[in-house]
Structures are given as structure tokens and as C-alpha cells.
């Protein structure tokens, strides 16, 4: 199985989730992260003290899929999360050796 990790712009989450569901993905895990990269953060000023946060709010999506499904999932995310402007984010793919559904004890593909 593959673990697809996607870091995207927060307001794109709904689109990506819907696209993935449409693509038959049953589940995913989402977390709020901060991203550092080419996209520069906003400047905030408090009583003249200027802070440029290098960190930009992002959403990280982790989804584990069958090996066969991975390519399509990456594709789907890339399209759904795309705006064309700097900071759209990344998709990374890693191997997962084992998966278990806690409720049933099912393992691997059947656990997803």
C-alpha cells in the first residue's frame, strides 16, 4: 500500500475531499500544519513592531491506498488542489507495509 501525503492550501480542502471521494477513496486523515517554502508569509505589525511569519497555514492530508490506486489519487489531488499560484503545495508518496482496522482487526487492503 501507499501513503499519499499532500500539503495543500486550506481553502482547497473541501474540493480535494470531494474529488477523492468521487475517486473512490473511503477515508483520509487531515491535520493543520504550517508550511515553509517559496510562498512568503504575511507581514503583521503590532505597534510598529513588524513580524513576517515565514510560516503559512496549510492543510496536510494523509491517505493510504492500494498500490494500484496511488497514481490516480496523486493525480486527483494535484488537479483538485491546483490554483497555479505559489504555495499550492506538494504531494509525497511513501510505502506502507501493513494496515489494520482497529474496529475489526481486518488488515491491509481490506482495512482501508
Amino acid at each position: 500500500m501507499k501513503l499519499v501525503i499532500a500539503v495543500i492550501k486550506p481553502f482547497k480542502l473541501d474540493d480535494v475531499r470531494e474529488a477523492l471521494s468521487a475517486a473512490g477513496v473511503q477515508g483520509m486523515t487531515v491535520s493543520e500544519v504550517k508550511g515553509f517554502g517559496r510562498q512568503k508569509g504575511q507581514t503583521e505589525i503590532y505597534r510598529g513592531a513588524e513580524y513576517t511569519t515565514h510560516m503559512v497555514p496549510k492543510i496536510k492530508i494523509e491517505v493510504v491506498v492500494e498500490d494500484g490506486q496511488a497514481a490516480q489519487v496523486v493525480e486527483t489531488i494535484q488537479q483538485a488542489a491546483h490554483t497555479g499560484s505559489i504555495g499550492d503545495g506538494k504531494i509525497f508518496v511513501a510505502d506502507i507495509g501493513q494496515a489494520v482496522r482497529i474496529r475489526t482487526g481486518e488488515t491491509n487492503e481490506t482495512a482501508l
Partner: protein, 473 residues
């Protein structure tokens, strides 16, 4: 950008004005301080309303009244800062929290300055020509010319007066909260600079005239004998209708209604609700202008009508098959306060309880069913609660005023006639507010562009318009 220039302009303008002010004041000093009139309620108060020229024999304020009215004034300020800021702010998304609070705060400050420069004289100044009289007063009291710590304002009781500065301050807070209420429908997308322009224009062409019509002797509704104890027409219908019109012109928030836009902190909304209720006693009881039985009646009504509305809103939620919610409690409290505003001193406690219950039910329907059907985006339901609730209150006041229902009306009270008057006042207010708002909003649009860019809207107005975040670590 726009704001930059405009603010500069404003700044300059004021400085000029202020420089001029004293001069003004001096000339005017000669003028005897004419006691202003502020009778909010019944035609037969006109007696008391006649300007009384201050002189040796002039009545002096009772310190109990002065103390009461000063505190009442402070309580109304608390309704705005931090009351309304929290009530509205809690309902927005966290990325727009500061923008909401700042728009309310700045509009309030601006309204105060406008008020002392020319608002007060427009609404409560000396009589204008007979042609203008029903709509505004004249400008002799610009810059509060001639007002001194000894000048007094009349109340509804013959020979009972309060310091004019107190009356000016009390009415000033009314102007400030009314324009702030309007903002509830446009937050999360309107530019800060647009809010400032809107405040200036809207107060001038909508609020000051309507305040005069309702509360000043000679005012249109006042002469009609319309019942409006604490400003249901001037404040709530006025703000609610203007909010609706403004929201429609401005258009929906990006993603509305598809995206979830849950309140970022109902906790803060509840806090704001509590402070609004607390402050509302200054608003309603204070409108009696005296620490007397009428104020006491207004006070108890402001308790029970509100309590009733809060529970009936939650009841309405149950009837609609939902869970009774905290936001329901809060919304009911506000709806009840709005509805009882014109009725505060014009109803018995049980009339007020029924009025609150009806207002809650109607406002719930407006917010939960009417709004989705019509599809406009009144972000925080300024129209659904203040507009609708204000109308229920204004009309309902004509009913509960009847002695037959425990109201303080005269034995020979003619409900039909009074209801007609109430309807006329409401109708005129709706039209006036709607037209005035269209003008004000389009002027703001011309000068500032009115609405933030989609990027700013998406990222949040706090960062985009003010360069700040409401919450950090």
C-alpha cells in the same frame, strides 16, 4: 489606498473644524441655552417638549436623574464596546474577528465626532423652518454652540430637566450603536474604508433625520403621536432595513451558502449577549430620562420580555425539530430586547412577555426560513433580528399599550387609530432607510470600491485589511 487619502482628508477637515469651533462657541455664547426636547413617547408630552429658555427661574436638574442618566449613557456604550463587538465578532470566522470589532469600534468613534459637530443640532437643535421642521432641526447648535455645563434639556415631566451635556452624550451613543448594528450584514467582506464613508453619509441622511422625526417636538412621527419609547423605529427597524439593503448591494460572501461558516466563538457571542442585555437597561430605562416609575416599568419589561423571547426562541427550535441551542438563547434575548425597545414604558409586564414571545417566534422564522428562501447573505442577521424584531415591536407596542391588556394607555385608548399611526411610522422608516442606504452604499462604493478582493476575503480581513491576527500563541 482610498482610506489613506480619505482619512487624511478627514483628519485635515476635522482639525480645521475644531480650530473653528471655539470661535463659533464664542459668538453663540450669547444665545441662551435652549433646552432641547427629546420626548420619545406620546404626543401629550409635547407640553414638556416646548423649549424652555434657561433663566434665573429655570429648573435645575435633580442629581438623582443626572446620576441615572450618566450611568445609563455609559451602559449604552458598553452595549457597543465590547458588547456588540463580541456578539457580532463571535459569529464571524476567526479570520475576520478583528475586522468586525474594528469596523464597529471605528464607526462608533466616527459617529461620536460627527454627532457633536452637526448630528446633535440636526436631530435636536432649535426648530428649523416649518417646511424642514418635520424632518430636521436647524444648524444653530453645530459644534454644540452655546452648550455649557449649566445648560439643561427637558424631560417628559414639566420642569424636570437634566444637564444638556448628559442628554447629548446619551443620544450620541444611540447614533453610534445604530450605525454599528447595520454593519452586521456586511462584515467579512466590506472594506474598512467603505465602512467609514458609509457611516458619515448614512448618519447624515438616514439616522439624524429619523431620530428627529421620532423624538423631537415637531418631528413627523412625534407629531403623529407614534409610540416609540426607546427607539424601535429609529434604531432597530432603521438599522435592520439598512442592513438588508446594504447586504443585497454588496452581494454574498464567497462560498455562501455552500461552505460551512460556523461562528468562530459562540462563547464570545454569549458574552456579548449578556453585555448587550445589561447595557440595554441604560438604553430602555434611560429613555425615560428620569429615575422614576416610568424607568422602573421600562426596566422590568426589559427583563421579562427578554426572558420570554429567549425561551420561546429555544421552543421554536424544538418545534422545528432541532435541539435548543445556545445561539437560540442568545438570538432570542436580542430579539426580545429589540421588540421591547419601543414598548418598554408603553406596556405592562405581561404584555411585554407576550410581545417577547411573539417576536422570538417571528424572528426565528425569518432567520431560519425566510432568509434561505430569499437567499440574501445577511452575515449576522441584522435584518432578521433587528429589522423584523423592530417591526414586531413597533406594531405590537400599539397593542400592548392598551390598558385592557395591562398597558399604561389612557382608558379611552383607540387601538385602531394608534396602530394606523404605528404602521405609517414603520412604513415611512422602511422607505427612508432603504433609499438612504442605497445612496450611502453607492457613495462608499464610488470612493472606496466597497468590497475587498477575493484573496483578502479568502485569507480573512484581519490580515488583509488590518495586518493582524486575532489569535496567536
Amino acid at each position: 489606498m482610498n482610506f489613506d487619502l480619505k482619512t487624511l482628508a478627514k483628519g485635515a477637515a476635522w482639525l480645521a473644524l475644531f480650530a473653528a469651533a471655539p470661535a463659533f462657541a464664542q459668538e453663540a455664547a450669547a444665545v441662551a441655552s435652549a433646552a432641547v426636547d427629546a420626548a420619545p413617547v406620546v404626543a401629550d408630552a409635547v407640553a414638556a417638549a416646548a423649549p424652555v429658555v434657561a433663566e434665573a427661574a429655570a429648573p435645575t436638574p435633580d442629581k438623582g436623574d443626572t446620576a441615572f442618566m450618566m450611568i445609563a449613557t455609559v451602559l449604552v456604550l458598553m452595549m457597543i464596546l465590547p458588547g456588540l463587538q463580541l456578539f457580532y465578532g463571535g459569529l464571524t470566522r476567526s479570520k475576520n474577528m478583528l475586522s468586525t470589532m474594528t469596523q464597529i469600534g471605528a464607526a462608533t468613534c466616527f459617529a461620536m465626532l460627527i454627532w457633536v459637530v452637526y448630528g446633535y443640532t440636526m436631530a435636536f437643535g432649535p426648530d428649523a423652518s416649518d417646511a424642514m421642521k418635520p424632518f430636521i432641526s436647524n444648524f444653530d447648535k453645530m459644534f454644540l454652540a452655546g452648550v455649557t455645563p449649566d445648560s439643561t434639556a427637558a424631560t417628559f415631566t414639566k420642569d424636570v430637566v437634566i444637564p444638556e451635556y448628559v442628554f447629548i452624550a446619551f443620544q450620541m451613543t444611540f447614533a453610534a450603536i445604530t450605525v454599528s448594528l447595520v454593519l452586521g450584514s456586511v462584515v467579512e467582506r466590506i472594506k474598512f474604508s467603505a465602512v467609514m464613508v458609509f457611516t458619515l453619509v448614512w448618519l447624515t441622511i438616514v439616522y439624524f433625520p429619523i431620530a428627529h422625526m421620532v423624538w423631537a417636538a415637531g418631528g413627523l412621527f412625534f407629531e403623529m403621536g407614534a409610540l416609540d419609547f426607546a427607539g424601535g423605529t429609529v434604531v432597530h427597524i432603521n438599522a435592520g432595513v439598512s442592513a438588508l439593503v446594504a447586504a443585497i448591494i454588496l452581494g454574498k460572501r464567497i462560498g455562501f451558502p455552500k461552505e460551512a461558516m460556523a461562528p468562530h466563538s459562540l462563547t464570545l457571542t454569549m458574552v456579548g449577549t449578556g453585555l448587550l442585555w445589561v447595557g440595554w437597561f441604560g438604553f430602555n430605562a434611560g429613555s425615560a430620562l428620569e429615575a422614576n416609575g416610568s424607568a422602573a416599568l421600562a426596566m422590568i419589561n426589559t427583563f421579562v420580555a427578554t426572558a420570554s423571547a429567549a425561551l420561546f426562541w429555544m421552543l421554536a427550535e424544538r418545534l422545528a425539530g432541532h435541539k435548543p441551542s445556545s445561539l437560540g438563547l442568545a438570538s432570542g434575548i436580542i430579539a426580545g430586547l429589540v421588540a421591547v425597545t419601543p414598548a418598554a414604558g408603553n406596556s405592562g409586564p405581561f404584555g411585554a412577555i407576550v410581545l417577547g414571545a411573539v417576536a422570538a417566534m417571528v424572528c426565528y422564522a425569518a432567520v431560519a426560513y425566510l432568509k434561505p428562501k430569499l437567499g440574501y447573505d445577511d452575515s449576522l442577521d441584522a435584518f432578521g433580528i433587528h429589522g423584523i424584531g423592530g417591526m414586531v415591536g413597533a406594531i405590537g407596542t400599539g397593542v400592548v399599550y392598551s390598558p385592557a391588556l395591562g398597558g399604561p394607555g389612557p382608558a379611552d385608548y383607540d387601538m385602531g387609530a394608534k396602530l394606523l399611526v404605528q404602521f405609517q411610522a414603520v412604513g415611512t422608516t422602511i422607505v427612508w432607510a432603504a433609499v438612504g442606504t442605497v445612496i450611502a452604499i453607492y457613495i462608499a462604493k464610488a470612493l472606496t470600491g466597497l468590497r475587498v478582493t477575493p484573496e483578502v476575503e479568502r485569507e480573512g480581513l484581519d490580515l488583509g485589511e488590518h495586518g493582524e491576527r486575532a489569535y496567536n500563541n
